[in-house]
């Protein structure tokens, strides 16, 4: 364990990213304790600049809602969306990619053409269409993001599975008499897991950005407080009270940066170990 911590220290970016993320998660968990239970509640006079009133450290928005409460509660939703979308996309991509890469031939052709169908759709546009048709709920937004982002993972995992398939230990498993399902589960999946894990944090960052963009366009879920919603509602007062957009915007920036730092670091951590193994 200490050895692993030492290798972790060799990628300072990942450590910084992990700490920032843990901080955000902590804040999100304790949101109701830190501020009021409902961020949508009108708490004070509108257009309070940060620092103007000690009761509202980050000021209030157009309608007099506490911006700090919005940030803190919004963190919860943003992280939920990011994590759910990242995990779901990685899981779908892992399964499709591993199956396509392992079986090859027509299975690969069919699955990859199918993946391309989704890959050529612009993620934001697809999600907008989905939201317009089905309705603006968090679940729909997550689904839209997952549907357009799993092919990235599938491609990555497929390439790795193709390489693994040629390796002798997979051949050895065939010779032992294992069937395809057992080989996929016991040998292929654990070995393609690390690229998929790296992708989770990148996808999570992208999902948060997509949700923010949607909300900015006024297509987010209006019943929950998200960073995107805050940016969207602050847009109307952008010239007179830019802080209403800048503060949640900064929160998005910090979170996405932290996620990217972490994924880069995890990538570095997993790679040399793999090189030492092969």
């Amino acid at each position: 364990m200490t050895a692993r911590l030492r290798t972790l220290a060799r990628v300072p970016g990942a450590v910084v990213g992990a700490f920032v993320l843990m901080g955000i998660i902590g804040v999100a968990l304790a949101a109701s304790q830190l501020t009021g239970p409902d961020p949508l509640e009108i708490a004070g006079p509108p257009f309070l600049w940060p620092g103007e009133d000690a009761a509202f450290v980050l000021g209030t928005d157009i309608m007099g809602r506490d911006i700090l409460a919005g940030i803190v509660h919004g963190a919860r939703i943003s992280l939920e969306i990011g994590l759910a979308a990242g995990l779901a996309a990685a899981a779908v991509g892992l399964i499709v990619g591993a199956v396509a890469g392992y079986f090859g031939k027509w299975v690969d052709q069919v699955l990859m053409r199918f993946a391309e169908l989704f890959q050529i759709m612009p993620p934001l546009l697809f999600t907008i269409v989905l939201v317009v048709v089905v309705g603006p709920t968090i679940g729909v937004i997550i689904a839209g993001i997952v549907v357009t982002s799993w092919p990235q993972v599938a491609r990555l995992v497929r390439a790795e599975a193709m390489r693994l398939k040629r390796s002798e230990f997979i051949q050895a498993a065939v010779v032992i008499g294992m069937n395809d399902r057992a080989i996929l589960l016991k040998h292929v999946a654990p070995n393609v897991l690390s690229p998929a894990v790296v992708m989770i944090s990148i996808l999570a960052g992208n999902a948060i950005l997509t949700e923010s963009a949607l909300s900015f366009l006024g297509m987010g879920d209006p019943n929950v407080m998200t960073w995107g919603n805050m940016i969207g509602s602050g847009r109307e007062a952008l010239r007179s009270a830019w802080y209403m957009t800048a503060i949640p915007g900064f929160a998005v920036l910090v979170t996405v940066t932290a996620l990217n730092l972490l994924s880069n670091g995890v990538n570095d951590l997993l790679n040399p170990r793999r090189r030492a193994w092969l």
């Binding site: 230990f169 051949q171 050895a172 498993a173 032992i176 008499g177 294992m178 016991k186 654990p190």
Partner: protein, 641 residues
């Protein structure tokens, strides 16, 4: 070998007390310790040792090509220059000019998107300040020097147009471009087939005489050492344990390690007069004492029905090209071969890369689907088995691969790997499988407490033992060993072969032993089949194949094996300059009908055609003539791109 220089003349290279250390978590870890040797002009020195002995690091440190986290102590002098103290700029002048280097893998050493002509000419313009036309003419001359046939037409060819041996010739031509005084050859023939290896060794010797170069030859192969080296430095764990005249090292090694290394080297012809396989002697590395290998019992059950019968097996692969995947040709990997193996017998399948020996092994396990033929295991034709009954086959036939590291899942403990076949076939409960695993590990000479470790915690030899244990788990009758000892160091190789022989004696196993190494094959096999371009050209009892080879290909193969005996150098024996032919055929190619002749009991030889009546070519005069022709031809040679 040029001995014309007076003894005591200034050495080309002298290395004194060289120590190279790498930074690790625990501080500086020395990989070469206190190494000293020198090379006289025109002399060949061999650095020999097993993997991890520090021989390649030594070569890299002479060229100062070590990674940043390495530390170099001691002296390395080239002529009058101290290599350790030179600034990087001066070193760049030396590399390629005074010292040139060739590597093991000639494909990765060449730039795949440049023609070979361009690459050699580039080296010439860089090192010898030539103008493009001069460089082009000199390139043609160099290609000719390294005996590349019709050099002029190959000038604009890309590296992938060349075979492995030809690429190594290109690398040598490039090394010669700077007219080096010293050539460092780091395992230059290890990746090549024996017949090609023999040609390249011959070429290096020839060029050395012509150019008065010194050669530092790095190798793990004692046969190669005996063939080329004037003096030999034996390395073990970073230290030179013995240095001396090659003849003396081989006839009277003083250090126990040298003795153990030499005892483990299989020698062609050592088995004359013996009928059964022979274990390798085990030598104590500390005392140097060797035991007399105990004989193997007669394991072959000649009257029993054969465990494996292959008849008229043909396996082909389609070559697709174009965007629509049209089939444009076929690799006739295995073409109409037949053989059988008795219980307890070892049949060796020998041949060079691309001859179809591995495909044969894979066809038997149905890792590839044969086109036609019959493969009977215990009398049952397994090519007719539906896919879902293949599990049955895989209880009776098992396989051991070449690379033991690659054939173990890096993320699974070796205990789990060994128990896997038992659980897959539901031969044992989890608890019983764990017990069996312990017994199996014990059987292959490992301790049960190792079961929890991961593959990367083991050495190459131990890993191959693990793979053997895994193969034994289902108690197969036949094991296909595909180059299973080729990647192992000599002493480890000897131990693993001893293990295989012991297991054959105790379990009555039959082996299909696929190998390119004739000396190992002679040691382990009862019968031998020689493959060439997908066909068996000669098959018979081991003694008959080695003692009375009939087919020209078998003879060529045997003649090319390096003999670990400096007093019996190839010297005068010129080998024919043959190129590897490929088994890629156009669509609709009909393989010729072959007939076999019986020479002795069970000894069959394929009848061969006139294409085998190649006269043994003398290289030297032929080259002189070509040389003149190119001098006159370069006039109209265009400028380089």
């Amino acid at each position: 070998m040029n001995h014309s220089l007076a003894p005591g003349s200034e050495p080309i290279l002298s290395v004194e007390n060289l120590t190279v250390s790498f930074r690790s978590d625990a501080g500086w870890r020395p990989v070469v310790r206190d190494l000293s040797f020198s090379i006289a002009p025109g002399e060949t020195i061999a650095l020999v040792g097993e993997s991890g002995s520090g021989k390649s690091v030594t070569a890299l440190s002479i060229m100062r090509l070590l990674p940043e986290d390495a530390r170099l102590q001691g002296n390395a002098r080239l002529g009058g220059l101290d290599l350790a103290a030179l600034p990087e700029k001066a070193l760049q002048k030396i590399r390629g000019n005074d010292v040139a280097m060739i590597f093991q893998e000639p494909m990765t050493s060449l730039n795949p998107v440049r023609t070979i002509g361009f690459q050699i000419a580039e080296a010439l313009m860089l090192h010898r300040d030539m103008t493009p036309p001069e460089a082009q003419a000199e390139t043609l001359r160099l290609l000719d020097r390294v005996r590349i046939p019709s050099a002029k037409s190959r000038f604009k060819d890309y590296p992938h147009h060349f075979s492995g041996g030809m690429r190594q010739r290109v690398m040598i031509a490039m090394a010669l471009a700077g007219r080096p005084k010293l050539l460092i050859a780091d395992e230059p023939t290890t990746a090549l087939d024996v017949t090609i290896q023999a040609q390249i060794l011959e070429l290096i010797k020839l060029l050395q005489d012509e150019e008065h170069m010194s050669v530092l030859f790095i190798t793990h192969d004692m046969g190669v050492v005996a063939d080329v080296a004037d003096r030999t430095v034996v390395m073990f764990e970073g230290q030179a344990v013995e240095t001396g005249e090659t003849g003396r090292i081989f006839s009277a090694p003083t250090h126990p390690y040298t003795g153990s290394l030499l005892a483990a080297v299989p020698r062609l012809g050592a088995m004359t007069g013996r009928h059964r396989p022979l274990r390798f002697p085990v030598v104590d590395r500390v005392t140097g004492l060797s035991n007399i290998p105990r004989g193997t019992p007669d394991t072959v059950k000649a009257d029993a029905p054969p465990v494996l019968e292959v008849s008229n097996l043909t396996t082909r692969f389609d070559i697709q090209s174009g965007s629509f995947g049209r089939v444009t040709g076929r690799v006739h990997a295995v073409e109409n071969i037949s053989f059988s193996i008795q219980p307890g017998e070892t049949l060796a399948l020998v041949g060079e890369s691309g001859c179809g020996k591995s495909t044969t092994g894979r066809s038997i396990l149905r890792l590839v689907e044969p086109e036609r033929g019959e493969i009977r295991v215990d009398g049952e034709d397994i090519l007719r088995l539906p896919k879902n009954r293949l599990r049955d086959l895989r209880r009776r036939v098992q396989m051991i691969f070449q690379d033991p590291f690659a054939s173990l899942d890096p993320r699974r403990s070796i205990g789990a790997s060994v128990a896997e076949p038992l659980l897959t076939h539901k031969l044992a409960s989890r608890a019983a499988a764990a017990e069996r695993t312990v017994a199996l590990l014990h059987q292959v000479g490992l301790t049960p407490d190792m079961a929890r470790r991961l593959p990367h915690e083991f050495s190459g030899g131990q890993r191959q033992r693990i793979c053997i244990a895994r193969a034994l788990a289902v108690q197969p009758k036949l094991i296909v060993a595909d180059e299973s000892v080729s990647a192992l160091d000599v002493s480890v190789k000897a131990q693993v072969i001893n293990l295989l022989l012991d297991l054959q004696a105790s379990m009555g196993l039959a082996y299909l032993f696929i190998s390119h190494d004739m000396a190992v094959v002679e040691r382990v096999s009862h019968r031998v089949a020689v493959m060439y371009l997908g066909e068996i050209v000669e098959i018979g009892p081991r003694a008959a194949i080695f003692g009375n080879p009939q087919h020209p290909y078998t003879r060529r193969l045997l003649a090319a094996v390096p003999v670990p005996d400096p007093s019996n150098r190839r010297g005068g024996r010129r080998l024919p300059e043959v190129e590897t032919v490929s088994s890629v055929r156009p669509l609709g190619y009909a393989a010729p009908v072959r007939s076999y002749r019986e020479i002795g009991p069970g000894h069959l030889v394929q009848a061969w055609g006139p294409e085998w009546d190649v006269p043994e070519i003398e290289a030297a005069p032929h080259v002189a003539i070509q040389h003149d022709r190119f001098q006159s031809e370069h006039v109209n040679a265009g400028a380089l791109s």
